[in-house]
Amino acid sequence: MRLFLQELVTGITTGALYGLVALGFSMVYGVLKLLNFAHGDLYMVGAYIGFFVIQWFGGAAHVNIPVPLLLVIMFVLAAVLVGGLGVAMERFAYRPLRDAGRIAPLITAIGISFFLENSALLLFGSQFREYNTPEFISLSSGIQVGLVTIDSVQIMVIVLALALMLGLRLVVNRTRLGRQMRAVAGDREAAEMLGINVNFTIAATFFLGAALAGMAGVMAGLLFNQVTNTIGFIAGLKAFTAAVVGGIGSLPGAVLGGFVIGLAEAFITGYVSSTYTNLLVFGLLIVVMLARPSGLLGRAQLQKV
């Protein structure tokens, strides 16, 4: 029972993280019908930014500003810089290909992912960078619920992720920008004719999605401690799985998919073996794709002639 609950907490935490990355994925797919394979690498960049913020303020053991302030700086900086990177990516690589059919942007996305991964390798080397979270956020500062302990980093990740998801929902459903995003997702040409600045809307979508991925990267650094240039690819695949399982293009679906993948991964690791985690998660995706290609919450698309 204790193992079950502990894995439940782990699963919800990582699920929240995957959900955040999957949200960006799904948003971009919604407006552009583009599978942005480079999305996972934005997460990796975010994790590196968090690491360097810790270094700038004295390193994990001797943080010279209040810890909450440090966390705020980490998240804000990661969100802004990674968001900017997402916009640059869209402007440079995807916009020229907007009307170029389906295959060309996918290949570009693979190229960007590969480029970002190797840029990080060139800039930061292949060694693991460690956040050393316990040095500035005490492990014992968590809460005890029944049999399990939830440490404060996990609480923070879950709360922040949920807050961001709710915030995104408000942005998409309540604001002018969100309405424009939904309009562009529905029919880009019609949206353009109605006077919506499509380029701006798409850029804003990329910014929001990338910013979420960047913040998820910082969370991953705090949670898993280790950052290297390849974490983006695997995390990207997982988030991708989450988005697809939930129904790609659907935002609640992305969050749900994130939790499904996070929990599946935690329970497989806890009860089966960590060796087979990735294999089983990928297998899950293939099964979902084949049985229900539109995902859990997605709607089957009619193919237009």
Partner: protein, 493 residues
């Protein structure tokens, strides 16, 4: 007949007969005869280059292939050493893979991101069948048995992967195949370590041995690969012009219209999958036999991206393009590892070539080049005057690094910043107007040289990966038909 049916200022009706430009020969523009001669309305290069292209195309495909094959076979006798021969073998394996991928992506238009798994499947299958891996004594099947067995098995696996995913269109197919590829790597890494060896792979694989011949030297594998590649290309060429080939292209262009024309769309897609898998597995078996060992990392994403880069560079949809693209990519890829001087020639040569090809008129080109050279010398002189450690290129570095590019004593951090700024500047270059682009180009080229001398040349194995990624991005934006492909003229003039 009224002279001005729309009034004297109304739109003029186009003339019934399009006039040929003065001085041009051949049938009248737009006539059926003209369309027939244009063979699918291609776009040719301007001036004499286009003329040369036309002459080249008038030669039949098989003499061209034969000449290319002969040239390839004669290369080792020109004195290719051990390293060049290895590069040649790698290039031929990638060429074989690219030619196979071309069936799936180029002809049938199915984005298969798990293609390398079939390559790995062939290699691992051969490794199990023709080595001491299974049982106490091993199976040690001769290549003449295990090679066809693996090719057929790969075709069946291709069908098995394609069958459930045949209904998935576009993106969804890409997802399933991507995960199939990843699952293959995970599988070989983790499942049955006693048989598949886990991350340590399988070693001690038999060389190809049949009809009393045993291939043990690299030269032997080189010739074998040339023969296999030429035969594969010939078979594929025949396939391309057959009913099946036309059906593939019809399905790629419009599945619905193809179905209306009674083409069995699903079966045709599956066939493309299976054919691609067969070529990949064939490449895999030869690869395993030549390497005498296989590891999961040999079949991971970087190889997939390499094959895609080859296909995209050469021009997706053309057999010759795929093979040529593979050769070019591998020469760049492996050439970078060899030594700094060669890599430098390659790098500066590529920049110069790009400038020559893209910058018009020549006055702008000359101005940019002169300004870049001047900027380099000026910057170097200023940096040298300020501090000695700013221009402390090591004794092993080239002439450029000592006299033109600033290479500080501790180049890593400035080089890294340079790289970041360079990427920003490249993105900026695309956005600004032509005049600013010309002006910005000068510092960008200099910065590129700086980053090259400080960082990229130091880390050749990363640089070549970066280059492959950049090739994919830039080619898709600038020249989606590939370096050697021709764009089809969409509208009739």
């Amino acid at each position: 007949m009224s002279v001005y049916p729309q009034g004297p200022l109304g739109p003029q009706e186009p003339p019934d007969i399009l006039e040929n430009p003065p001085g041009s020969r051949g049938p009248r523009l737009g006539a059926d005869e003209w369309v027939a001669r244009q063979e699918g309305r291609r776009e040719y290069l301007p001036s004499w280059l286009g003329e040369a292209q036309r002459v080249f195309e008038r030669i039949g495909w098989w003499p061209r292939l034969a000449v290319a094959g002969l040239a390839g076979a004669l290369l080792p006798s020109l004195g290719l050493g051990g390293f060049q021969l290895q590069v040649g073998i790698d290039a031929l394996v990638i060429a074989l893979l690219a030619v196979g991928l071309n069936i799936v992506v180029g002809w049938a238009g199915l984005l298969d991101l798990g293609y390398v798994a079939f390559f790995g499947f062939g290699a691992y299958g051969y490794a199990l069948l023709s080595s001491g891996q299974i049982g106490s004594a091993g199976i040690h099947l001769p290549a003449i048995v295990s090679l066809p067995v693996m090719v057929i098995a790969a075709a069946i696996l291709g069908l098995a992967v394609g069958l459930p995913s045949r209904r998935l269109i576009g993106d969804y197919l890409a997802i399933v195949t991507l995960f199939f590829g990843e699952a293959f790597v995970e599988f070989t890494n983790n499942v049955a370590p006693a048989k598949l060896g886990g991350p340590n792979g399988i070693t001690g694989i038999d060389p190809i041995r049949s009809f009393g011949i045993q291939l043990t030297t690299n030269a032997g594998y080189y010739y074998l690969l040339v023969i296999v590649l030429v035969i594969t290309m010939a078979v594929l060429r025949l396939l391309d012009t057959s009913r099946t080939g036309r059906a593939w292209r019809a399905v790629r262009e419009d599945p619905l219209a193809a179905a209306a024309m009674t083409i069995p769309v699903n079966r045709v897609k599956l066939l493309a999958f299976a054919c691609g898998a067969m070529v990949a597995a064939l490449a895999g078996t030869i690869f395993a036999a030549q390497q005498t060992s296989v590891f999961p990392t040999d079949f991971d994403t970087p190889i997939l991206i390499l094959v895609y880069a080859a296909l995209i560079l050469g021009g997706s949809g053309s057999i010759a393009g795929a093979a040529t693209g593979a050769l070019v990519v591998m020469v760049i890829y492996d050439g970078l590892l060899r030594n700094a001087t060669d890599a430098g020639f390659l790098f500066y040569g590529l920049i110069l070539l790009t400038l020559l090809a893209r910058l018009r008129p020549w006055r702008r080109l000359a101005a940019v080049l002169a300004a870049t050279v001047a900027l380099g010398f000026a910057a170097h002189a200023i940096a040298a005057a300020i501090s000695n450690s700013a221009v402390a290129a090591g004794p092993g570095s080239g002439w450029l690094a000592r006299h033109w590019v600033i290479v500080p004593a501790n180049p890593q951090t400035p080089g890294n910043w340079g790289f970041v700024i360079l990427v920003c500047m490249l993105i900026a270059l695309v956005q600004v107007s032509t005049r600013w682009r010309t002006i910005l180009m000068v510092p960008t080229i200099y910065l590129a040289a700086f980053v090259w001398e400080t960082r990229l040349v130091v880390e050749p194995s990363i640089t070549r990966q970066l280059l492959i990624g950049a090739i994919l991005i830039v080619m898709m934006i600038a020249r989606p038909q590939g370096l050697f492909g021709q764009r089809r003229v969409e509208a009739a003039l």
